[in-house]
């Protein structure tokens, strides 16, 4: 009796687990469709929209592409193979952004390279500036220390600020 109860309990747990997996799977599918559908463009040429945002009823491309995406996700293909399928069928312009492989990587790298170069230029300017400031004589009146000058500046600002 206890054995039967245990089997029933195991079955129940397994059923709940399987159900949960199915539900999670269903959730994952819609999330994946949402994500992949926003990594691709509708290729109709008229809307210039993400695949899932094309709102042309009867659009010759987006409806077909959406159903292809749904069936590809349902069949368990990986994201990369789904994207590859769409590239082969509709061309590289189907992707909403450059990939991070091959020459496409250059698109992503150059702005950050420009950022780093900019930082480099500013760091260089800092070093030059420090050297110049260290070499230059104090611009304040003789006998006035740097701290005093700062205090005078602060006082002047405080008293004249409107």
């Amino acid at each position: 009796m206890r054995h039967k109860f245990r089997i029933r309990r195991v079955r129940l747990v397994a059923a709940v687990f399987a159900g949960t997996l199915i539900l999670i799977g269903a959730g994952d599918d819609s999330t994946r469709i949402e994500r992949l559908g926003h990594q691709m463009m509708c290729v109709c040429g008229a809307c210039n929209q993400y695949l899932l945002e094309c709102n042309h009823v009867g659009c010759a491309y987006s409806e077909r592409m959406r159903s292809e995406l749904t069936s590809a996700v349902g069949s368990g293909k990986s994201d990369s193979s789904i994207l590859q399928f769409f590239i082969e069928k509709y061309g590289a312009t189907v992707l909403a952004a450059p990939t991070k492989t091959g020459f496409d990587r250059v698109a992503w790298i150059i702005p950050y390279l420009a950022l780093v170069l900019g930082i480099g230029v500013i760091v260089l300017a800092m070093r030059t500036l420090r050297g110049r400031l260290a070499a230059a004589p104090r611009s304040g009146p003789s006998g006035v220390s740097s701290g005093e000058m700062d205090r005078f500046r602060a006082q002047a600002r405080k008293e004249t600020e409107l």
Binding site: M41, N55, A96, P98, A107, L129, R153, A154, T160, L162
Partner: protein, 686 residues
């Protein structure tokens, strides 16, 4: 009519050509009579405006009188087109919009030439530069893109009609605003090139052009969001900015123009960055021309682009000439642009402007790079690729957030040098306030609304949203603290209330405090944009009584119907909106079909609040069931974008208002006698 139009355009070309050649000769050969020659050039430039104005009036009149013998009118108008949109015909096609460009340019040129007594020699130089640009556009209008070309064969009884996308009230004002901005940058460019060419002593030309630049920048600042607003309310995809190449083309000169408005202060106050400023304004003008080239050459794919044509080559040639001329004069007179002062401290207003300029240019470069990368890809790989929103959002948005941080910190820094103690004192409370906002947005339950209960560790988009909220709040708090601090000082001197003192403060230094108001507008726009990753949407085919839920709203389809109008037929749905079980509104999304162009157009209906927009689109009918397909978007915080734009425009107008007279306050000397003192705003500078 077309003959008269063609004639006045040819006359305008001759007058502009004379204005350029005679003005140039008068400047180069400074002999007896050169002043009279220069005066004739000035008058010819003014007369060219009259000629171009007549041409534009003729084209608009042809639209109003349905003169379909003119090919342009046939292609862009029809008999049933409502009268206000007949005006829009002027800029709805390639030839007309070039005529509009030329009209605005000659208008700016006329104002400049009428004000020549301000500085005759500098204005004469600027007038020659403007005449040269005018000659280019009139050459296009006379030989490459003729607005008065006539129809061949039998005359049509009706026109093809205006593009349905343009039949919206905003389209009557968006392009003129944008063009006023684009074209207006010719004026500071002309002054800059003129000042460089003549080695203009001092920086007076900067003062002369400041208002021109501000006004131009203001038009562009209004024009770009008007386009975004139009896209939001007309295109029906639920968004307002798609990083389309033509949108990007309008953003680039705005970015460099904004950088110029900041860095030019360094030249005015400290005599620094002269070369940089010169090239910034050169670049801004070239980007304006480049944007016009992008929309007309077909070099990149865009939903906005005009028909592909050969005039792209003209623009390439013109851009090349501009670049060569700029390089020539820079190289020839580069000694004239040497800085008068060096940077003294990294913690100073000057260094913040340097960082700010670097970021503006970096964002501009990123936008340009992303826009042109498909062309580069085709050249290198043999095939085009798409560079869409994921690229721009992933690269330009982080840079923009750094810029927003600088917008908050910059105004707290003084010219020359700021002590860290003073920075800490001024920055502490705004920073704590921004931090509190961030903690609040994370700690609040998501059930309060889409912007609450943020989880920045789950998705980078949420992280950016949170950062935009916090940095936006930081900007608002720092500006508020600046106003309060200054207001208190004035209040202490004059005995007025704090609010009245803050108003007086703004009036005392309109440029500085107008700029701060613009910063607040920018912060509000960022706060509005931060809602984008939190958008939700739902779509459903709906019969009578069917329900569609999105966020806290439930839409119930009450009815759907069809109507016929002279210019279009429409299908519309009547949707009741419920929130928490209570009906709060009725919306009427529609889909129009324009018979003349055989094009459908979805007109969304939007229920806006400060918290969110409920955006409902009638996407069409299912051909099998005949029932409407409705898509509902829930877009948080979008209204803040439009509010932010209005605040920016208010700040720009405030910055253009002349300063009020200095405050005079009675203060008591140590001896006890009262004396009158004049208080001037120095503080962190303006």
């Amino acid at each position: 009519m077309s003959e008269l139009g063609s004639f006045v355009l040819l006359l305008a070309l001759a007058l502009s050509g004379y204005s350029f050649v005679a003005g140039f000769v008068a400047l180069v050969r400074r002999q007896l009579g050169s002043e009279q020659l220069s005066e004739t050039a000035r008058r010819a430039g003014i007369a060219s405006f009259v000629a171009v104005l007549i041409a534009a009036v003729i084209l608009v009149a042809a639209a109003f009188t349905n003169d379909f013998s003119i090919a342009y009118i046939f292609h862009h108008s029809n008999r049933d087109l409502p009268l206000p949109y007949k005006f829009a015909v002027l800029w709805s096609g390639q030839e007309g919009s070039l005529l509009f460009w030329s009209l605005l340019l000659s208008g700016y040129g006329m104002v400049l030439r009428l004000r020549h007594k301000t500085d005759q020699r500098l204005f004469a130089h600027a007038s020659v530069v403007i005449a040269a640009v005018q000659v280019f556009f009139l050459l296009l209008l006379n030989f490459a893109a003729r607005p008065f070309a006539i129809m061949q064969g039998q005359l049509p009884t009706d026109g093809s009609g205006l593009n349905p996308l343009l039949q919206y009230p905003e389209m009557v004002i968006h392009p003129p605003m944008l063009y006023l901005g684009y074209v207006g940058f010719t004026v500071p460019f002309a002054f800059a090139l003129g000042a460089l060419a003549m080695k203009y002593p001092g920086d007076k030309w900067i003062h002369i052009t400041r208002r021109w630049t501000m006004v131009t920048w203001g038009f562009l600042t209004l024009g770009i969001p008007l386009g975004a607003h139009w896209a939001y309310y007309v295109l029906g995809w639920g968004g307002y900015w798609g990083w389309d190449p033509v949108e990007n083309a309008s953003l680039m000169p705005w970015l460099t123009g904004t950088a110029f408005l900041h860095s030019v202060m360094m030249q005015e106050k400290r005599g620094m960055l002269k070369t940089w400023n010169m090239w910034l304004i050169f670049t801004t003008f070239m980007l304006s021309i480049f944007g016009t080239f992008l929309t007309r050459s077909g070099v990149v794919n865009s939903v906005h682009a005009f028909a592909q044509s050969s005039i792209g080559d003209w623009f390439v040639a013109f851009l090349s000439i501009i670049f060569i001329v700029c390089i020539y004069f820079y190289w020839k007179n580069r000694e004239h642009l040497k800085s008068e002062h060096k940077l003294e401290s990294l913690v100073s207003r000057e260094s913040s402007f340097l960082f700010n300029n670097w970021l503006f240019l970096l964002i501009c470069f990123t936008v340009l790079w992303g826009t042109l990368f498909p062309v580069l890809s085709e050249w290198v790989q043999g095939h085009k690729i798409t560079v869409g929103p994921p690229f721009f959002n992933g690269v330009a948005v982080p840079f923009a957030l750094i810029l927003l941080l600088l917008t908050a910190v910059g105004p707290l820094l003084a010219w020359r040098k700021t002590s860290l103690e003073s920075l800490k004192r001024n920055f502490l409370w705004p920073a704590l306030g921004a931090l509190a906002i961030g903690i609040f947005l994370i700690a609040t339950p998501p059930t309060w609304g889409s912007v609450f209960g943020m989880r920045p560790w789950q998705d980078s988009a949420y992280f950016y949203s949170l950062m935009a909220a916090m940095l936006g709040a930081l900007v608002v708090f720092t500006v508020a603290s600046e106003f309060i601090r200054g207001g208190r000082v004035i209040s202490g001197h004059t005995g007025r209330g704090l609010v009245a003192s803050m108003v007086q403060l703004g009036h005392r230094n309109t440029r500085r405090y107008g700029g701060y108001v613009v910063h607040v507008g920018i912060a509000l726009i960022f706060i509005g944009v931060l809602g984008t990753p939190l958008n939700q949407s739902a779509e459903k085919e709906m019969g009578f009584g069917d329900k569609l839920a999105v966020g806290p709203y439930t839409l119930v389809c009450q009815s759907y119907t069809q109507e016929d109008h002279p210019n279009y037929s429409t299908e519309l749905a009547i949707m009741q909106v419920f929130k928490n079980g209570k009906q709060i509104d009725t919306l009427y999304p529609e889909s129009r079909f324009y018979a003349s162009t055989q094009q459908p157009q979805h007109i969304p209906t939007v229920r806006s609040s400060l918290k969110e927009d409920l955006y409902v689109v009638y996407e069409g009918q299912n051909p099998d069931t005949g029932r409407p397909i409705i898509k509902a978007h829930l877009n948080p915080l979008v209204s803040w974008i439009w509010i932010g734009v209005l605040v920016m425009i208010f700040g720009t107008v405030l910055a253009l208002v002349p300063n009020a007279a200095p405050v005079r306050a009675a203060v008591t000397e140590r001896a006890g006698a009262k004396v009158s003192v004049q208080a001037a705003p120095v503080g962190a500078g303006d």
